[in-house]
Symmetry: C2
Subunit: 220 residues, 2 copies
DNA sequence: CGAGTTCGATACAGACCTGTATCGAATGAC
DNA sequence: GTCATTCGATACAGGTCTGTATCGAACTCG
């Protein structure tokens, strides 16, 4: 399938490879200086090419931007699904009682999955900023955000149900709030010059909200 | 005092006036296209001047940006203090019982004061985006944010106390959470193409959180 | 009323940055 | 082995923005 679908003749061996390197390089550069300040030359150079390679693969910086978003959101969604079970195992060893701390661990653990990398937080914030001034970008941003929110709501609600805990409000609403507070905590951390790891005490608001939002399910 | 403190000689009658017009114009232009995309020429033209006037009053776009921030945050703080009493009167006519709705009205009313104008929301979001990549801007942003948060916490806590309601968590933490959720709601509203008014149903998360965060003070 | 100063307009030089057009090298097909 | 094609490098033209330098007008003070 990989080779069979190639259009026609010739040297497209490294084509996809070049695209990927440009996307990764742009992800870096966007995170560092922002989308507006990132020149095509800087991106190409970071990837080890010249501008010729860029314009041979993308029509404009905007198209590249969308390509990044599609790629990275897909990766994020995959990482989300894969990351839940380990969190569960760590927070709740067999026979461990259900405490408030377990709920906190699960909630913050799952939320952490949505921001694996500080570049990702910077990219999303950039994405939102651009969306505020361009309806087409806003449309795409809303689509991606909605998908993440839905995935996360299902995941969180499922995880809590497994330990006999439920949200006091609708799962979508609770998840939205938690995501918002969490993202704000990450931003605050970055603004304070924090490193790639988010220390637990930065998440005090998240844990407080998690406790307010949850309750034990009634036994029956 | 106005004229006496003028440095020395001559035609500085309209100097402050020019500065103000440049600041207001830049506020508009920044909100429309963003700080990065706003050229000095566009700002000057919007104010009815040429670039000469700009460079005569400011060293760079960054200095102008800081001038805007100082000016507008001061105005916002003043508006905050002035706006509370009317909200109180509207939410709680004499003899009106203390209901959950009163709490919602007061909380959302006070929060609305922090975003009088959609340009303000756009400016703050731009401020934050810039702060994420420039430590000096981050320092200023943190200072302004902290001040607003403190003012708001005192205001909200005071208002709730007056009606016999209190936060279940520290006032600063509760206020921070409410501000964050509120700002997120405003952003969502803007992303959806919403107009200058934020309809109440956009604030469902804010009101839900307000109820979770508050409780009646015990009688004594 | 005259002299000096300040403010804003205009002109200019330089730095990027974008997008296109052209060229050469590598590759795969026949 | 030859030929055609594709991909990336290089060169070029056009546009925009910044910051400075210079100039003229208005205003203030003596």
């Amino acid at each position: 399938m990989t080779t069979a679908e190639q259009p026609a003749g010739a040297a497209s061996r490294g084509r996809e490879h070049t695209r990927e390197r440009l996307i990764d390089a742009a992800f870096d550069v966007f995170a560092e200086v922002g989308v507006g300040a990132a020149s095509v030359e800087a991106i190409a150079e970071r990837a080890g090419f010249t501008r010729g390679a860029f314009y041979s693969n993308f029509d404009s910086k905007v198209e590249l931007f969308f390509a990044i978003a599609d790629t990275k959101y897909a990766q994020a969604a995959a990482g989300l699904q894969a990351g839940v079970d380990p969190i569960f195992a760590a927070a709740l060893p067999p026979g461990h009682p259900i405490t408030a701390e377990v709920v906190e661990q699960i909630v913050t653990g799952v939320l952490r999955l949505t921001v694996t990398d500080m570049r990702w937080a910077l990219f999303e914030s950039e994405f939102e900023a651009l969306a505020l001034r361009d309806p087409e970008i806003a449309r795409r941003f809303a689509g991606h955000s909605q998908r993440v929110a839905e995935d996360l709501a299902a995941l969180l609600d499922g995880a809590l149900t497994r330990i006999g805990v439920r949200f006091r409000v609708q799962a979508e609403q609770a998840t939205r709030m938690l995501m918002t507070i969490f993202r704000s905590a990450v931003t605050t951390h970055l603004l304070a010059g924090g490193g790639p790891e988010i220390p637990p005490d930065r998440l005090a608001d998240v844990t407080a909200l998690a406790l307010l939002l949850t309750e034990r399910m009634p036994e029956r």
